[in-house]
């Protein structure tokens, strides 16, 4: 199977953390070609050399978020794109995959999906979260895919990027009749747990609303779909059914379910892959400010919560 991966890379400290190196090694082992599009101003040029030794490195200025990086990489590959059996676009915002990519792809090969990601979310509109997307060749050849990347402009507002590009890409592909999905297939137990966690999150969020609007806010949030990536983040354990852990989940613990506990469990399960993750998060904490309106910071939920619905119960 011929696979192309285009990876977007950025590090606020100008470093190449261990989990990113692992990620690149994994991609290189699985793909025929890997293009790393980096906006990192490497403190040590040896890091760039390390990448060059394994993949095509494209360096560019830090505008347009990951999407413009992927566009740069895809443009670089040009017409050759259509010759691959899969095209992957991903970034370095997660730790993993925690089981071999070949296994993940073998599993996904039999599922009738035209494009898939590690996480498929129904929030706002059904979409594949952009940190890892795999496209089948007929999608890559489609007019919709081509038009999406051709018409892209460098947008540097995170919410706009999510709306126009992350969700926009899925909306366009679904509108063209393509079937999209995610690696994690929710079972009934998953759904029950996710719903419980989501409702608790809704209660916590509603508390922050103005007095008098809280009930309305609660109802609104509770009705929204959850983000499986957060609500079921511990499904990475024990055998990487969800093959990755998002750094943002560890950093912000958006559902306040005890991300520190999750990290600890991962460190125990995959000591090598998580060896430097805790230190990396601490070193960059000032660069990743809490997002307005969202719950923030690793939380330590009370024991009943921990027992019933906390991460890594």
């Amino acid at each position: 199977m011929r696979v192309l991966a285009v990876m977007a890379n950025y590090d606020s400290l100008g470093l190449l953390p261990l989990h990113v190196r692992d990620q690149i090694e994994d991609l290189v082992a699985f793909c025929e070609r890997v293009v790393v599009v980096s906006t990192t101003d490497y403190a040590d040029e040896a890091d760039a050399e390390w990448i060059r030794a394994r993949a095509t490195l494209v360096r560019r200025e830090n505008v347009g978020y990951d999407f413009y990086g992927w566009k740069t990489g895809l443009d670089l590959v040009g017409d050759e794109l259509e010759s691959y059996d899969y095209v992957i676009t991903c970034n370095d915002s997660y730790v993993g995959p925690l089981r071999p990519l070949a296994d993940v792809f073998a599993e996904m090969d039999s599922r009738p999906l035209d494009a898939w990601g590690f996480n498929f979310s129904l929030r706002r509109k059904p979409h594949i979260q952009s940190f890892f997307v795999a496209y089948r060749p007929w999608v890559v050849r489609s007019a919709t895919f081509r038009a999406f990347w051709d018409r892209m402009e460098p947008v540097s507002d995170r919410m706009q990027v999510i709306g126009r590009y992350e969700i926009g890409l899925s909306v366009a592909l679904r509108g063209a009749g393509f079937r999209l999905g995610g690696v994690l297939e929710e079972g009934p137990a998953d759904t029950r747990l996710a719903r419980l966690r989501h409702w608790r999150w809704a209660v916590l969020r509603a508390r922050r609303a103005e007095r008098g609007r809280r009930l309305k806010t609660l109802v609104r949030f509770a009705r929204e779909p959850w983000n499986p990536n957060t609500a079921l983040a511990d499904r990475v354990l024990p055998d990487a059914r969800l093959p990755v852990v998002k750094l943002d989940t560890l950093r912000f613990d958006p559902y306040q379910l005890g991300s520190d506990r999750l990290l600890r469990a991962c460190e125990e399960r995959w000591p090598e892959r998580f060896a430097e993750v805790r230190a990396d998060l601490a070193a960059r904490s000032k660069d990743y400010r809490p997002r307005p309106g969202e719950l923030d910071g690793p939380a330590v939920p009370a024991w009943p919560v921990r027992a019933v619905m906390g991460y890594a119960r």
């Binding site: 089948r136 007929w138 999608v139 509108g175 063209a176 009749g177 393509f178 079937r179």
Partner: protein, 1034 residues
């Protein structure tokens, strides 16, 4: 509303009261009708298809039949008797039988046929007509009953015709309505399902797969996945899917590639765009299954569709079968069910292609889909399949359509993009065999007029009456196509065949549109020449024979020059203004614009009127194209005839026709335009028709609709400008004049003096080198108005709408009392034919009103060439207008002899005084010259305001000795040519004085006449008006 009324209204809303009240009325109606003895039970059974007793028939009529449009007796039509009968509880026939006056009339007006002397009256009681009673049948509401063919026939014969037509109607109606839609699920569905559940899945025999599903697709990226999923979810898995992409420009192909990647039963066949028929055929060619099914890419099947179809067909040994289709909308739920027989399918398609499964070998034999159709290809195949076998109906719902089916498809659907008339194209292939018609032997000397029913009914009768009155060299036959008319219309038309044996009525079960209906009629034509007459077109006398002459003179086809209800041209053919741009010739122009044109004016195409051609050539050309719904179908046929024969279509100027309203353009005129221009976009520009009528093209005006699509293109013409050289108008400008009269358009207007006045003035203006045309009062807002330089309003009875922006001259020639000051201020120059009125109006309004008296028609009135007869006769020409006019009254009162010519004098004067209803115009001048005295009097308002009648001028111009009542100014204008009276005594004295004493000898009379003909004719007035117009800068 009184308290009692309110109470009654309230009580009616109590549940059950309404029903009880209706029941009570029904009982009363049944009783009243039964006792009248007028209910014709046999007749009713024939229409309703019911068996049973007479009483049961009457009950059925009162409770159900009348609402279905059935009739209780052959001569009774509810809506003709009471147009609002549907709103009433009481049955209209029950009202009729109780109405002594209605019974006494003994007549039936159907709007199409008029039957008199129906039944026999015994006191107040009407007995139904007996078989040997004589009845009188004629065309209803014929404008000219004097020449209407009228038949006296026996009631037995008339009833037999009515019965035969009612039987035909019933049979066709059955085919039309036979179980095509139902609000119930298909009967026997659960039994069928149970039986099928017990059957094994049939074997695929030696085929590699049991069912091949053919799915054509074009730009359906969002929907095709759903369609395939409905196949993948079928309970029968032994299938293959062949998706044929008809050149999609979206991602349909990519989506199907994705589907095929995961399901090897799915195959994709990409094609360049070549139409749905070809796409399906490519799919069929690759099909390997024993059965072939069709699923459109925007539809879905119910999960057990294939299983039940395969098992059901196996059980029946069926070659082709279809299931029911459920149609769900927000308001209702319908099930399409029905017969798969050819005769039923010909009336309308009720077999959905998505619900049809055919054995592959049968499909091979029948051939695939027609590739030349852009719509209804499925219907065409269904018809072809059904022609040699009945399609079996399997009673279950296999397909469900919901209102939201169109989501995501939008304007790309064939049903949106392509005209509905493809349905007619498909049906025409099974209705008319053109090859056989082209090779048929037609009867020499026989002319066939083929026409169809129109709406309202009088449009049909007016056209028919005019056709039956046509004089043609040899024989005439008329084929009238009844387009699925009501029972009453169908039976009435049958009776018309009795009225005139040249008429034959052909009925088609549904309205097939005008072009296809005429094609069906054409198949019945036996004459070597045919006239295709669109509905609502009335031929004027000799129109047909003149068109036939043009055909004899070598035209490919011919049409009469046609005017609309405003007397403006609505059909004078088409010309090609520039390559592929077809525009009508002189639309909304006066017919007089064609006065100088050749008798047979060659044009690029005929439109808007009857088309006369050789029948065999029309058949060889395939008749009128059913794809077009309107008058451009005639244009298309004429172009095709010209192409095939190498001769030109011609407009025959001397042959005239009149359309009701603004002429027939047909529904969907814009679609016709698109089709027509698509077919003839390569036609080379040819402006010769314009040159023939002395006009030239200034520009083309395109009217766009809201979407920016061109819906209409018109030629804007240029006018010849310059100055007159020679003659009395030497050096004056050459202008285009619009003479607008107060007279109505059409035949009604010809009785108005205003029209003759306008015509005479227009002729005089033309003699001065002017381009003058007369218009009726309705013709104000017309497309050709921009060409006019001068608008001359000949103000008579009614004001004429203002038209600012053009030099306007108003000449008040009569009815001054009705003229308001605002009318005066709207004109650039105003004249009145009465001096007194002109002076007073000038003073009153402050607007100068000039005096311009009426005048004589110098063309027609001149002294006789021989000496007068010396007769002492006293001549009065004029209608009574329902009053005893003073001149006549006083002379008759004095016992003097008098010759009156005119109408409406019956009962006003002694017998013998009136010599005739009218004196022909060509004899009038000579009569004035020969008469001892010519008497005239004026209407009171005309006399009071100094308006001298033009009859006075005409009589004097003819050398007549005129005695008139006194009008101010008459002596100044006409001197001693007119003797006037103020009192009856003076009139009698004048009448008794020898004429020679009053008016001198012939030589003197000739001298006076010559002066009047010099100073007071239309030529003199025309010159005056031209000078005024030139000053106004016209």
């Amino acid at each position: 509303m009184s308290l009692a009324q309110r109470a009654r209204a309230t009580v009616r809303h109590v549940p059950g009261v309404r029903r009880a009240r209706r029941e009570l009325w029904h009982r009363r109606d049944v009783h009243a009708i039964a006792t009248s003895g007028l209910f014709d039970a046999d007749w009713y059974r024939l229409q309703s298809g019911l068996d049973g007793s007479d009483e049961a028939a009457l009950e059925d009529y009162v409770r159900r039949g009348r609402k279905r449009g059935l009739s209780p007796a052959p001569f009774f039509e509810p809506s003709a008797f009471d147009s609002s009968w549907r709103k009433r509880v009481q049955d209209p026939f029950a009202v009729f039988v109780a109405d002594a006056r209605a019974r006494r009339e003994r007549r039936w007006h159907s709007g199409l046929v008029f039957v008199e002397e129906l039944g026999t009256l015994d006191g107040d009681r009407l007995a139904p007509p007996a078989d040997d009673d004589v009845v009188v049948v004629q065309l209803d509401r014929d404008p000219d009953p004097q020449v209407t063919p009228t038949a006296r026939t026996t009631w037995g014969r008339a009833r037999a015709v009515l019965a035969e037509r009612a039987g035909t109607w019933r049979a066709q109606e059955d085919r039309r309505t036979l179980l095509t839609r139902s609000s119930e699920r298909p009967p026997g569905e659960s039994g069928f399902r149970t039986a099928m559940a017990r059957r094994p899945t049939p074997s695929r025999a030696d085929a590699p797969v049991l069912v091949s599903v053919v799915m054509p697709t074009w730009n359906r990226q969002a929907l095709v996945g759903r369609a395939v999923r409905s196949l993948q979810e079928q309970t029968l898995g032994d299938w293959e899917l062949i998706v044929v992409d008809d050149g999609s420009v979206d991602d349909t192909v990519r989506v199907v590639e994705g589907i095929a990647h995961f399901d090897p039963r799915v195959r994709l066949v990409p094609l360049d765009r070549s139409g749905v028929g070809r796409a399906r055929n490519e799919g069929i060619a690759r099909a390997r299954g024993r059965l072939v099914a069709f699923l459109d890419s925007d539809n879905t099947w119910e999960p057990d569709f294939l299983e039940l179809m395969a098992k059901g067909m196996d059980a029946l040994g069926s070659e082709a079968a279809f299931s029911s289709v459920e149609m769900v909308s927000s308001r209702r739920r319908d099930f399409r069910v029905g017969s798969g027989r050819h005769e039923h399918l010909l009336v309308g398609n009720h077999v959905d292609l998505n619900a049809l499964v055919v054995r592959a070998d049968v499909l091979d034999r029948v051939g695939g889909f027609a590739e030349d159709l852009r719509r209804t290809v499925d219907y065409e195949l269904v018809l072809r399949l059904a022609a040699s076998r009945t399609l079996d109906f399997l009673p279950f719902v296999g397909v469900v359509y919901t209102d939201d089916e169109d989501e995501g498809a939008g304007a790309d659907r064939i049903s949106v993009r392509e005209p509905l008339t493809w349905d007619y194209v498909t049906r025409s292939r099974h209705l008319v065999d053109w090859e056989a018609l082209a090779s048929r032997r037609y009867e020499p000397g026989l002319v066939s007029v083929v026409t169809t029913t129109g709406s309202p009914r009088w449009a049909t009768t007016a056209a028919l009456a005019a056709v039956l009155r046509q004089e043609v060299p040899d024989h005439l036959e008329v084929v009238l196509v009844d387009r699925g008319g009501s029972l009453q219309d169908s039976t009435a038309l049958g009776l018309l065949e009795l009225v005139d044996p040249r008429l034959r009525v052909v009925r088609v079960a549904t309205d097939l549109g005008v072009p296809l209906s005429l094609d069906v009629g054409l198949a019945e034509a036996r004459g070597e020449a045919v006239a295709l007459l669109p509905p609502g077109t009335v031929l004027e006398p000799r129109a047909l024979s003149r068109c036939l002459e043009a055909l004899g003179a070598g035209a490919a086809c011919a049409q009469p020059l046609t005017v609309d209800s405003r007397d403006l041209v609505s059909g004078a053919g088409l010309l090609v203004a520039r390559r592929g741009t077809w525009v009508p010739l002189l639309p909304e122009h006066p017919a007089s614009d064609l006065d100088g044109a050749p008798a047979h004016l060659p044009v690029a195409a005929l439109v808007g009127s009857a088309l006369v051609a050789r029948t065999a050539e029309v058949a060889a050309a395939g008749g009128l194209p059913p794809l077009m719904a309107g008058s451009l179908s005639f244009a298309d046929l004429s172009v095709e005839l010209a192409r095939r024969t190498g001769r030109r279509p011609v407009v025959v100027h001397a042959a005239r026709a009149r359309t009701l309203g603004r002429g027939w353009s047909g529904p969907l005129a814009w679609t016709d335009r698109r089709v027509f221009e698509g077919r003839h976009r390569d036609a080379a520009a040819d402006l010769s028709p314009l040159e023939h009528v002395g006009a030239s093209l200034a520009s083309l005006e395109t009217r766009l609709d809201a979407d920016g699509t061109a819906v209409d293109v018109q030629a804007r013409l240029a006018r010849r400008v310059g100055r007159v050289s020679g003659g009395p108008a030497d050096g004056l400008p050459r202008l285009r004049w619009a003479l607008v009269t107060s007279a109505p358009a059409g035949p009604k207007g010809t009785a108005w003096g205003d029209v003759h006045f306008g015509d005479a003035l227009a002729r005089a203006l033309r003699r001065l080198g002017q381009d003058a045309h007369v218009y009726a009062r309705e013709a104000g807002n017309r497309r050709s108005a921009h060409l006019d330089d001068v608008r001359l309003v000949l103000r008579g009875l009614d004001p004429v709408a203002a038209d600012p922006g053009r030099a306007t001259i108003t000449w008040i020639i009569s009815h001054p009392d009705t003229v308001g000051d605002d009318e005066l201020s709207r004109s650039d120059a105003v004249f009145a034919a009465g001096r007194t009125w002109a002076e007073r109006a000038s003073l009153r309004s402050g607007r100068h009103v000039g005096f311009l008296p009426q005048c004589a028609d110098g063309d027609r009135f001149r002294p006789g060439s021989t000496a007068s007869t010396g007769s002492p006769s006293r001549l009065f020409v004029g209608n009574s207008r329902k009053v005893l006019r003073p001149s006549v009254a006083h002379l008759v009162g004095a016992g003097l002899e008098l010759d009156v010519y005119g109408g409406g004098w019956e009962g006003l004067v002694p017998a013998g005084v009136v010599r005739g209803a009218y004196l022909p115009n060509e004899e009038l001048g000579r009569a004035y010259w020969d008469a001892g005295l010519v008497l005239n009097d004026h209407w009171a308002d005309m006399r009071q305001h100094g308006f001298i009648a033009n009859r006075v001028f005409d009589a004097v111009a003819a050398g007549g000795r005129v005695i008139s009542d006194h009008v101010d100014g008459v002596e100044d204008l006409l001197g001693d040519a007119v003797r006037t009276w103020r009192t009856p005594r003076e009139l009698v004295d004048l009448a008794l004085t020898p004429p020679l004493e009053l008016f001198g000898d012939d030589a003197h009379r000739r001298e006076v006449a010559a002066r009047v003909r010099r100073e007071h004719t239309f030529d003199a007035r025309a010159l005056d008006l031209l000078r005024v117009a030139a000053e106004l800068g016209g």
